[in-house]
């Protein structure tokens, strides 16, 4: 058992750090949940891609470096320690790409992945519907067979990044006669600017249009944009759900970096006699370290040929609660300055704690609510009987 990096891994870390030092914007980009910020973040993706840092774990032919999970974790640690911008491409990179690697065709990979890696095409997810949240398999949007493809109709909602994104991916009911709700679903990719698509941005808690409702009225999608076999969409989608909850969506680097910043904030500005606050800072540091080590342990398991299944639900509950605790503690250290947003000229750290806090509050809801995750943990990891939700 060890936690040692090889000389080559240390060199990779040094290379990433040097590049980030030279390229990370000195002043944070505007919030990626605004039109101006979205464009700036798209430009940043192009910068990353130009030197092959946007998708380090992908094969080289699609713009990556073929990096191991461990190197990807190293990159992420350096990325967030450097204070680099949030990733506007993350829905595509973390959800759609793994699905294409597992279930897509060579043609789809060659067509979709390079423009995703460069930020030229930004992807939004289209899972939830007004009547289908945690019970996703009850979804009602339809894909109806037509010559050469499918016609999509219905309503999707809580579609992250869709206010400004280019394309989306999601599940549609292609066989309404199927015996069970999760049968007869098909996984499709579709353009957000096509005839029949209406995008209505939705302001999140702080008013920024971070997600959107999508109204689809017989939107044509060619056969080549079906991933996996028609009717197999649930199985295909669940392979990305694990990614969303588990290892790849929230790398430990962002939390260890945030814990480091929180510690600095606390040392510089907090009342040293406030031991209750000190204990919360310590707990955030401990939890960020625990998440990093837990992830190394999972990465070691994967490297040893094991697979990570329902354990990804442990990750999801842990990081989402850690993220909130980190930001809440920071806001308490900041006191009256904590509420100043990224648009306030006097906001500490350009308002990143306030923005981060707002963002963190969604964590226990998206990617499968934490209630659903706890059901999964109890049923699949502890073997408790299924019951009514």
């Amino acid at each position: 058992m060890d936690l040692d990096f090889t000389a080559a891994e240390d060199a990779f870390r040094a290379e990433a750090r040097a590049w980030l030092t030279a390229h990370v914007p000195a002043v944070p980009l505007p919030s990626l949940e605004t039109e101006e910020g979205f464009a700036a973040h798209r430009e940043w993706e192009r910068t990353l891609f130009a030197d092959r840092w946007s998708v380090v774990s992908w094969p080289e032919e699609y713009g990556g470096r073929g990096a191991s999970i461990l190197r990807w974790l190293i990159f992420e640690e350096e990325y967030y320690a450097a204070g680099a911008p949030g990733r506007v491409s993350q829905n595509g990179i973390n959800l759609l790409a793994p699905t294409l690697f597992e279930h897509g065709t060579d043609e789809q990979r060659a067509r979709v992945l390079p423009s995703m890696a460069s930020g030229e095409v930004i992807w939004a997810q289209a899972w939830s519907e007004p009547e289908s949240g945690s019970d996703l398999a009850s979804l009602r949007s339809t894909a109806v067979r037509t010559a050469g493809g499918w016609l999509l109709s219905g309503q999707k909602t809580w579609s992250s990044r869709a206010a400004f994104a280019d394309r989306a991916f999601g599940l549609f009911r292609s066989d309404p006669e199927a015996a069970r709700p999760h049968q007869g679903l098909t996984y499709l990719m579709f353009p957000l600017d096509a005839p029949g698509v209406t995008v209505r941005p939705i302001g999140r808690l702080d008013g920024k249009p971070a997600f959107a409702e999508l109204f689809l009225d017989e939107v044509f999608v060619p056969d080549e944009d079906v991933i996996g076999a028609p009717g197999q969409g649930w199985r295909v989608a669940m392979s990305t759900a694990g990614n969303e909850r588990g290892l790849t969506l929230r790398s430990p680097g962002r939390f260890t970096a945030a814990a480091e910043r929180l510690t600095g904030l606390w040392r510089d500005g907090a009342d040293p006699s406030d031991t209750a606050l000190r204990d919360r800072v310590a707990d955030a540091v401990i939890a960020a370290r625990a998440y990093r080590l837990f992830t190394y342990s999972n990465a070691s398991r994967i490297a040893a040929g094991e697979s990570i299944g329902a354990e990804s639900s442990l990750n999801k509950v842990f990081w989402s609660e850690l993220d909130i605790a980190l930001h809440e503690t920071a806001l308490d250290v900041l006191g009256p300055y904590g509420e100043l947003s990224d648009e306030a000229t006097e906001a500490p750290a350009h308002g990143s704690w306030a923005e981060g806090h707002t963002f963190s509050l969604a964590g226990p809801i998206y990617a499968g609510t934490n209630e659903i995750q706890r059901d999964i943990i109890a049923e699949r990891l502890l073997g408790l009987p299924k019951g009514r939700r």
Binding site: M1, L3, L70, A282, Y296, A304
Partner: protein
């Protein structure tokens, strides 16, 4: 990097688990609590044969160690079975004796500790507690007072603990075993070892509480169904597992750090592991008690042997507040 226990370490854990399962450990705990230490000492000898104490003793003194990762693995199993006695204190005393630089003292005690022939308690008031654990059941008590290590066999009257299997008393008098500037650093190291293996014990304790409670809620029925099918029950147990799962890598990383060259960093890591393991074990005890209902609140049910150990382990060798302060120490 391979941040996983290797096959040998896993097999070691499995064999200890099997041995303790076959040894009527609950009976030994209850006997120990009533002042009959014979079954506990017999168990101690079997642990020594399995090599547990040798892990804390260096090779020149007939040991195998120091091997902090293996110690953490072993103490997780000792906690899983709520084994009684000054286990933590004995391996911490071995760490102290190893670092004192006094070959006579080391030669007198370390081989006997490794062989399970010496049960030693340790009291380091600077590390938080004025009491020695189980001094009436030991062959010696070491007491660190400033730059002096005292050796005694005497202690004041037992101050009963809320966990009857923990017998606390203040050490009395003693002869000087060592004195000098090296004592403070050696005692600090011994306290670190104690904190690490206490965290390991807590983690194992929490795992046992979770396992027993999961088994119980699967078979206990109310309203015509197993209570484990209720979401409130599931979520409490999911949270229990979550806390234990994330404490474990902190423990293993701390053990690796203790084996490494940077003592200050090891101290921070051990403190982090102690907080996480102590908190998660106590939370497991609370969940176990709540989900067993009234029967969980009884002395009769062996579950009590685990439940009442959770709080003392959380405080022993580093309270949560002291550990949190250490995590942030510059």
């Amino acid at each position: 990097m391979r941040f996983l226990l290797d096959d040998e370490q896993r097999e070691f854990a499995r064999s200890l688990d099997a041995m303790l399962t076959a040894s009527d450990t609950p009976g030994a705990v209850r006997a120990w609590a009533s002042g009959d230490t014979a079954p506990g000492r017999a168990l101690w000898s079997r642990l020594a044969e399995a090599g547990v104490f040798a892990l804390a003793v260096p090779e020149p003194y007939e040991g195998l160690g120091p091997l902090p990762v293996e110690l953490a693995v072993a103490f997780t199993e000792l906690g899983r079975h709520a084994v009684p006695g000054p286990l933590v204190e004995t391996v911490a005393a071995a760490a102290l004796l190893d670092r004192l630089g006094d070959q006579d003292a080391a030669a007198a005690w370390l081989p006997r500790i490794a062989a399970g022939k010496a049960v030693v308690s340790l009291c380091v008031p600077a590390a938080g507690s004025p009491y020695a654990l189980d001094p009436d059941a030991t062959d010696a008590v070491l007491v660190v007072a400033g730059d002096t290590v005292l050796l005694t066999e005497d202690a004041g009257p037992v101050q009963p603990s809320a966990d009857p299997a923990r017998r606390l008393a203040r050490p009395l008098g003693g002869t000087v075993l060592a004195r000098g500037p090296e004592v403070e650093a050696a005692a600090g190291h011994a306290a670190d070892v104690a904190a690490l293996v206490t965290a390991a014990q807590a983690l194992g304790l929490g795992r046992a509480l979770l396992d027993r409670t999961v088994a119980y809620v699967k078979q206990r029925t109310q309203f015509g169904v197993a209570i484990g099918s209720f979401q409130a029950v599931k979520h409490r147990l999911a949270d229990t597992l979550l806390a234990l799962e994330f404490a474990q890598p902190l423990l293993h990383s701390a053990a690796l750090a203790l084996a490494g060259p940077d003592g200050r960093e090891a101290g921070r890591e051990i403190a982090a592991a102690k907080v996480a393991a102590g908190d998660s074990a106590y939370a497991a005890a609370r969940a176990a008690l709540q989900l067993h209902g009234a029967v969980g609140y009884t002395d009769e049910l062996d579950l009590s042997l685990w439940i009442r150990k959770a709080r003392p382990l959380r405080e022993a060798w580093g309270t949560p507040a002291a550990c949190r302060a250490r995590v942030l120490a510059p």
